[in-house]
Symmetry: C2
Subunit: 219 residues, 2 copies
């Protein structure tokens, strides 16, 4: 059966890139449908396929829509064989889900708060506390990636921290992840963005710079 | 192999009861370790087994800890055969995960806001908006449960809405879910709490009344 796979996407979005990395890991051919978010309009398709959140990414597989990036990744891993994205062992799988959820529930809101408050000290302290938990986890594991020798769900979930955050730090001049404070996380980020399957997906740095400069009025 | 299963629990907690319902569905024997939360102290075990969130429930399976209620439910479904909790079909599974996540990310915070603000009008409107989305989903499905003829991950995730919310409404006199406004949700809640496997687990209503009265200074 010929699978029809479409991804409603926004090239500069870290949540969208999670889905793209998962698709790329499995070497799935798909049609990328780039949404124009410049005037905050959502296309009729996005409103139709993700009426609850009206957000990207949306994966359309043989006409059936799936949204929420972590749900999409699990779906891709369930449907397509090949390189596994979640561990096979149920316990390791639960651990991976725990950390992916931690990134979404704790790290992402904490980081978002730092940059929307323009670097409030308390917000910075709280974000660093969450990042420290990831740092410790990497130190305890002692592996190249959260997934071990290869990237898994957790690494993909942390794509913002690996790539987007550095650009945001540059634009806002609010630096959180330094080599001194977070040596493991810095090393991991470097490894992650240099993964072939990731590198092929990440948007050019200058595009993110332009996007963030515009967003933070530093154009 | 003799499985050793322990649940660090708090009988009145809706997140804890999610894990209990899942264990009960699979008819898994486990040791219930009731935590004393009366003085906000966490036991050494909870701090050891869930150092990141320091929250209940924690499932300990053959010495290995799992936390976060939705992660625990997926783990239970992965490890133990018997009554399935998530659909087998990958698309239906993704849909179930989407709704469980919606309940945790949107409904629970919105409900929490209503009662911590003592019924702020805007907060009530926002909570009702989220509940309406669930109402519509039940109407579209036209089934007894979110899971169809039987409860699944989504029903379990919504246990607070089915049971705890009514008690909270009584104590605070801030009523959100009426039969008029949410007929499907009301019917679903009734079906859910009357499910044998759920009924065996739910804490007595008077215990919740006492807990919420104390919490809201209405003792």
């Amino acid at each position: 059966m010929a699978d029809e796979v479409k991804l409603y996407a926004f090239a500069e979005g870290s949540f969208v890139c999670r889905a793209k990395i998962a698709l790329n890991l499995k070497r799935i051919e798909y049609e990328n449908i780039e949404e124009d978010l410049s005037n905050n309009n959502k296309s009729a398709d996005v409103l139709k396929y993700n009426p609850v959140h009206k957000k990207l990414p949306v994966l359309l597989h043989n006409g059936k829509p799936i949204s929420e990036s972590l749900v999409i990744i699990e779906y891709i891993d369930d449907v397509w064989k090949g390189v596994p994205i979640l561990p096979q062992d149920p316990y390791e799988k639960a651990v991976a889900r725990f950390w992916a959820k931690f990134i979404d529930d704790k790290c992402m809101p904490a980081l978002s708060k730092v940059y929307s408050s323009n670097g409030d000290e308390q917000d910075i302290a709280e974000a660093c506390e969450q990042l420290q938990i990831l740092e410790n986890e990497l130190a305890v594991k002692g592996t190249k990636f959260f997934g071990g020798d290869n990237i898994n769900l957790v690494d993909i979930a942390a794509d913002f921290i690996a790539y987007w955050l550095g650009v945001l730090e540059e634009v806002t001049e609010i630096k959180l992840v330094t080599k001194d404070k977070f040596p493991k996380l810095t090393e991991w980020a470097d490894n992650f963005v240099n993964c072939q399957v990731v590198k092929e997906i990440l948007p050019p740095r200058e595009n993110l710079l332009a996007l963030f400069r515009k967003r933070f009025g530093k154009a």
